[in-house]
């Protein structure tokens, strides 16, 4: 064997030993593992759906501020589109790569708690959340009475209306009761000779689960009903309130005031829908899409069945919680407290960093005091009804199986709208299917 060959052999052996060592070392230093070498800062990962544009920048601002002012704990954000959020959460968790801090849609909270993904908030944080946020926001972030995170954006539902279309139909203002809603819808509806809808009086849309179900649940809550029972184990939609909502929607579709096949998110900005129930996030999009025509847009509380009826509507939301598999929960909760509770100066007033973040992107948090402070200073008046609704909104049910229950409700609403089912059949089928699936999830 020549010396040269011996050198080559040694080199290969060294390489063979060095490669696994290097891989092992780099694996140990991976961000999700937290501390690498002694003295290194803890690195917490945060998975959210703030994946692009102003949302991404809005979250990155406070995270950069934290990283610049905290030497021992750093936060690294990871973002995916909302449509991929649950899948990403699931896959990463199963692979043992779950993020330390997660930002789920509250609808999934029951499913995540049941799967052991979410860690309950420590008592001092739970107390802070219960004290600082509105009832609907706390309800969204809780499962079985236990708080699991800091509510972030909260969406309440209200009635968007086109002032110009109402004016042209001789209607003075937005409807306050369901009777007024129907009358306004019929008066504003216009069709051409071929049956094409030129103007929908009241927009009901099969666009997606959230649109279809959100509209219906907002009306259901306004009628004093709820989708699931108090204990979360059965559906409560087969009730007088549920029947009233299904009847109302059935009438509107049957009489041509609603055309569910039309994409309401395109039709309303184009002036082809007079009224529609939707969430507060839409105002920002409408401003961008409609330009000067946005001045025709008004927002009012969701009409109630009878005059002087108690107001109610639907609220949905997201929250920031800590993964049960997080190795540094204390640090993670501390970061969340700093982000969601500490007050900073914003435009001459004080508010939490999260409140400032959400308002900067045209959204709301469940902190009504912050919202009043921030929106009271030259904000869009159309956001006010959504802010007022924080006081009386009903949180979207988030029991285990809530996502499936929502999909089943959508299917049955669509079957009602398209005449596949009568009101009775739709109520009965929804109750049977949802009860079966929700009980399966428990």
């Amino acid at each position: 064997m020549t010396p040269a060959r011996r050198t080559a052999g040694l080199s290969r052996r060294h390489f063979a030993l060095a490669l696994p060592s290097a891989l092992l070392a780099s694996g140990c230093a991976a961000p999700h593992q937290g501390i690498g070498r002694p003295g290194d800062p803890i690195v917490l990962t945060l998975l959210s759906h703030y994946a692009s544009g102003e949302l991404k920048e809005a979250l990155q601002g406070p995270v950069n501020e934290w990283n610049a002012t905290h030497d021992l704990v750093k936060v690294r954000t990871k973002a995916v589109e909302f449509t991929d959020l649950l899948t990403t959460l699931m896959v990463r968790q199963a692979a043992g790569q779950g993020a330390d801090i997660v930002h789920p849609y509250c609808l999934w909270n029951g499913q995540l708690v049941r799967a052991g993904v979410l860690r309950p908030a420590p008592p001092e944080h739970a107390e802070e959340i219960t004290r600082g946020y509105g009832k609907a926001a706390v309800g969204s972030a809780s499962v079985g009475g236990k708080v699991y995170g800091y509510p972030t954006e909260v969406q309440t539902y209200a009635l968007y209306y086109n002032k110009r279309l109402l004016r042209e139909a001789g209607v003075d203002g937005p409807p306050r009761t369901w009777r007024e809603l129907e009358e306004t819808a019929y008066r504003t509806t216009r069709r051409d000779q071929y049956g094409n809808t030129l103007v929908q009086g009241f927009g009901l849309s099969t666009y997606d689960d959230s649109t279809t179900v959100g509209q219906t649940l907002a009306l259901l809550n306004a009628a004093g009903g709820t989708f699931v029972s108090t204990d979360g184990r059965t559906t409560a939609i087969d009730s007088p309130a549920g029947r009233a909502v299904f009847d109302l929607e059935h009438h509107l579709v049957a009489k041509g005031a609603s055309a569910p096949g039309v994409n309401v998110y395109q039709a309303f900005p184009s002036g082809q829908v007079a009224m529609v129930v939707s969430a507060g996030w839409w105002t920002t999009s409408l401003k961008t899409l409609m330009g000067k025509a946005y001045r025709d847009v008004g927002v009012a509380p969701v009409p109630v069945p009878e005059a002087h009826g108690k107001r109610a509507t639907l609220s949905t939301g997201f929250m920031l919680g800590v993964n049960a598999a997080c190795r540094h929960p204390r640090e993670a909760w501390e970061f969340l407290r700093w982000l969601n509770t500490d007050r900073v100066g914003v435009k001459g007033a004080t508010a939490t960093r999260m409140s400032a973040l959400q308002v900067s992107v045209g959204s709301l948090t469940g902190r009504a005091d912050d919202m009043r402070t921030l929106l009271g200073r030259g904000g869009d008046p159309n956001l006010r009804p959504f802010l007022d609704a924080l006081a009386y909104a009903v949180p979207e049910p988030n029991v285990p199986g809530a996502q499936q229950a929502k999909s089943l409700l959508r299917k049955n609403i669509e079957a009602l709208w398209t005449g596949q089912q009568s009101v009775d059949e739709a109520l009965r089928t929804t109750r049977r299917q949802v009860d079966q699936e929700v009980s399966h999830s428990w």
Binding site: A94, R114, G195, G261
Partner: protein, 319 residues
């Protein structure tokens, strides 16, 4: 210094002297060859093990378990409960979901096959055949999302299709919003999108039909219809079998187009097995039901494919 190329000769000479040594040597040589063959096959076998056998085994395990998809330690065996649940009273899996799946696949195959035979026969008689084939193949290279969205706009009440109907004095049709027309409307799009690949296969099949058959038919005075049904179609059978089987498989498993165009609605009017499986697993966290549905769909695909092969073999076509 020993020349390595002489080594086998030495072995052969020794084997010539002693038959037992020769047999042992040949065995050793064969074993070495087998080992080398497996060594070369190892990457492929490993690939199949990791990406086929392992997921298949895992899916089989999940089909008989309850699992939310978050922690591997939470897999809870439930026997055949997931399968019985799929066919239980009130379940929507058999009807309308599985029925829709079969209708979707059947409709797609029928339309795509008829369309592609017609177009391929026409193209075969035209100049610039490459250009025509490319034009018809374009939908294949376009993303499903783009195709689905464009057709969705065309089907809308103020869209192109209704515009044409209105121009003809007919009323508008809510193609995707009406449960009676939603599935056929999506079938048309799927058939349109898949006709290109079928045309490619069929034009290649048409090229392989000997010209002498057509000349003989012309001498006998056969008309174009007789030539098509007595010569072209029977000799296209191998290509038709291929198109039929592959299109049916694609149709039974596809869900992307439906997801883009209708999301399975209105109600369950266009819901198909693959879309339901995706929802059960990734949206509802019910991996057991999703995996059980996957195995049921697998059985359906197997039965349909075997039936097609049997049918064509009965007609004398070798699969």
């Amino acid at each position: 210094m020993v020349n390595a190329t002489l080594a086998p000769e030495t072995t052969e000479r020794a084997a010539h002297d002693d038959p037992a040594v020769g047999i042992r040597g040949r065995d050793r040589h064969r074993r070495r060859q087998v080992a080398v063959a497996y060594l070369f096959l190892a990457p492929t076998l490993l690939f199949f093990a990791v990406f086929l056998v392992l997921p298949l085994g895992f899916a089989l395990l999940l089909s008989m378990s309850r699992w939310s998809g978050f922690a591997l330690g939470d897999i809870d065996p439930v026997g055949l409960d997931n399968f019985t649940g799929l066919f239980a009273d009130g379940s929507t899996f058999l009807a309308p979901i599985l029925t829709n799946t079969l209708l979707f696949a059947l409709g797609t195959v029928a339309l795509a096959l008829a369309g592609s035979v017609l177009v391929a026969t026409c193209i075969d008689k035209l100049r610039f055949q490459g250009l025509w084939r490319t034009l018809y193949f374009l939908p294949i290279v376009t993303t499903v999302v783009a195709v689905g969205n464009v057709w969705k706009y065309m089907y809308e009440p103020g869209g192109l299709v209704n515009g044409v109907l209105n121009a003809l004095g007919l009323g508008s049709v809510a193609f995707l919003a009406d449960p009676d027309t939603a599935l056929p409307s999506v079938v048309v799009v799927q058939a349109w999108a898949s006709v290109g690949s079928a045309i490619l296969v069929l034009t290649a099949g048409l090229k392989s039909v000997p010209e002498s058959y057509y000349e003989a038919a012309a001498l006998d005075g056969a008309g174009p219809v007789t030539v098509f049904f007595r010569i072209t179609l029977p000799l296209l059978r191998p290509s038709l079998l291929f198109v039929c089987v592959t299109q049916f498989l694609t149709g039974l498993q596809s869900f992307a187009l439906i997801s883009v165009m209708t999301k399975g609605g209105p109600g369950d009017a266009t819901n198909v097995a693959a879309l339901e499986m995706y929802r059960q697993a990734f949206s509802y966290g019910d991996w057991g039901t999703a995996s059980a549905a996957a195995f049921v769909l697998f059985m359906v695909v197997l039965v349909v494919t075997l039936a097609q092969l049997w049918f064509f073999r009965r007609k004398g076509e070798d699969a």
